[in-house]
């Protein structure tokens, strides 16, 4: 699985519904009748995936929320986003 380019724009797939509970996300994939729970960072990324902002802008947002280097955030965001695409939760807009 290749990390995504930071200029990529992702959105939640149409069949995905989620609820944030104590910073984690309970996610339902309606098409697969599947329930998954995402940790805090993955839940945050799911929230940011609005189909109009790039991964780079997500890094900007997260840089204000987490004490981590930009390099680390860029690597983690690209990696997490790719995982969520592979899990069928996000897609390229």
């Amino acid at each position: 699985m290749q990390p995504l380019a930071l200029r990529s724009i992702l959105r939640r797939r149409a069949d995905v519904r989620f609820r944030v509970i104590d910073r984690e996300a309970v996610v339902v994939r309606q098409s697969a009748a599947e329930v998954v729970v995402l940790n805090e960072v993955a839940a945050r990324i799911l929230t940011l995936a609005d189909g109009s902002t790039s991964l780079e802008s997500w890094v900007d947002v997260l840089a204000a929320e987490y004490e981590a280097s930009r390099e680390t955030l860029e690597r983690d965001v690209a990696g997490f986003a790719a995982e969520l695409v592979e899990q069928g939760l996000l897609e390229v807009a």
């Binding site: 519904r17 609820r19 509970i21 309970v26």
Partner: protein, 318 residues
């Protein structure tokens, strides 16, 4: 496959409203959470088999106005496909709508309609017998699930076991088919616990008298439903038990518990909520109710257990 095609010869002729020729004039009341549930349009044989299946749950609440009426109608044998049930895992086909839910199953068609209050109808070619009791129960399970949601509660696939001492509370073990609910139930019975149901139980909000707020989730109660799996019979009604702890089942060669986050608990409950977890019109309400039923004080764990039953010695199950 479109709705009803698995079970019905002409799914496009599914009844559009509660009407038809009833089987008879017999009726009975069953009182479960969300009820009383009134069933009408039955013949004597059908009524007798339902009473035999649900035992002392029948007749309770007969003095109270029914919360829901379900009317039974005749259907033709030719309306239903013949299905070879050998090795077949039974399931219902549901078609979700905002004002109605349609249900198709083995020799069964049913509607739940909100107008705005909930009313239900069942069509079957089965005049009575053991098969009818199964048809009745399949429709009833769906009905209770929807009705309970209106009361702020949920029906869950899981085994509930209660300590026999008064105020001992109940443990809930969650998992889909094959997770080990019946095994946990049998192992618990060997250790003197009471199995409420090893298949479906209700989780309801509400304070329970005598519950120790500091040690149990007193805001959530487990209520027995007469829908059992491999262990036991429907038996008799049981009073609500305060929920002591919740366990997500995982089969293993050894015993171990690990705590679950609140999100993981809600996710587990959502996965174990039959019918409603695939209903797009009610899933948001379901998640809200599940979140409300899971206070931060509720002990919740992933439980890896073996067939030795030693997990009952874990401090989390004391």
């Amino acid at each position: 496959m479109s709705f009803g095609e698995q079970f019905l010869v002409h799914p496009d002729l599914f009844p559009a409203r509660r009407s038809g020729e009833t089987w008879g004039e017999r009726e009975l009341v069953i009182d479960l959470p969300g009820g009383p549930y009134l069933f009408t349009g039955l013949n004597a044989g059908q009524e007798a088999h339902v009473r035999r299946r649900f035992g002392s749950f029948c007749g309770l609440g007969a003095g109270s106005p029914p919360a829901v009426e379900t009317r039974f109608f005749r259907a033709a044998e030719a309306d239903f496909r013949e299905i070879d049930t050998r090795g077949w895992e039974y399931g219902l086909d549901l078609d979700f709508g905002l004002a109605a839910v349609r249900v198709a199953g083995l020799r069964l068609m049913a509607r739940l309609d909100w107008r705005p209050g909930l009313a239900a109808a069942v069509w079957t070619p089965d005049a009575g017998g053991e098969a009818f009791a199964g048809i009745f129960e399949n429709a009833f399970r769906a009905l209770v699930s929807y009705r309970l949601l209106e009361s702020g509660g949920v029906v869950l696939h899981g085994a509930a076991l209660a300590r026999r001492q008064e105020g001992g509370g109940a443990f809930l073990f969650l998992g889909r088919s094959g997770a080990g609910k019946s095994t946990v139930s049998r192992l618990g019975m060997e250790r003197g616990l009471t199995v409420l149901s090893d298949d479906l139980n209700a989780l309801l909000p509400g304070e329970l008298p005598g519950a120790a707020v500091a040690t149990v989730a007193a805001a959530t109660a487990v209520v027995k439903l007469p829908f059992t799996g491999d262990v036991g019979e429907p038996g008799a009604p049981s009073p609500p038990h305060p929920l002591r702890a919740l366990f997500r089942l995982e089969k293993s060669a050894e015993e171990a518990v690990s705590p679950l986050s609140r999100a993981e608990v809600v996710g587990c409950l959502l996965a174990c909520s039959p019918f409603l977890n695939t209903d797009p019109y009610r899933r948001e309400t379901l998640v809200s109710i599940l979140s409300a039923l899971v206070p931060r004080s509720l002990p919740a764990y992933a439980l890896r257990f073996s067939l030795t039953g030693r997990f009952w010695e874990l401090p989390e199950l004391a």
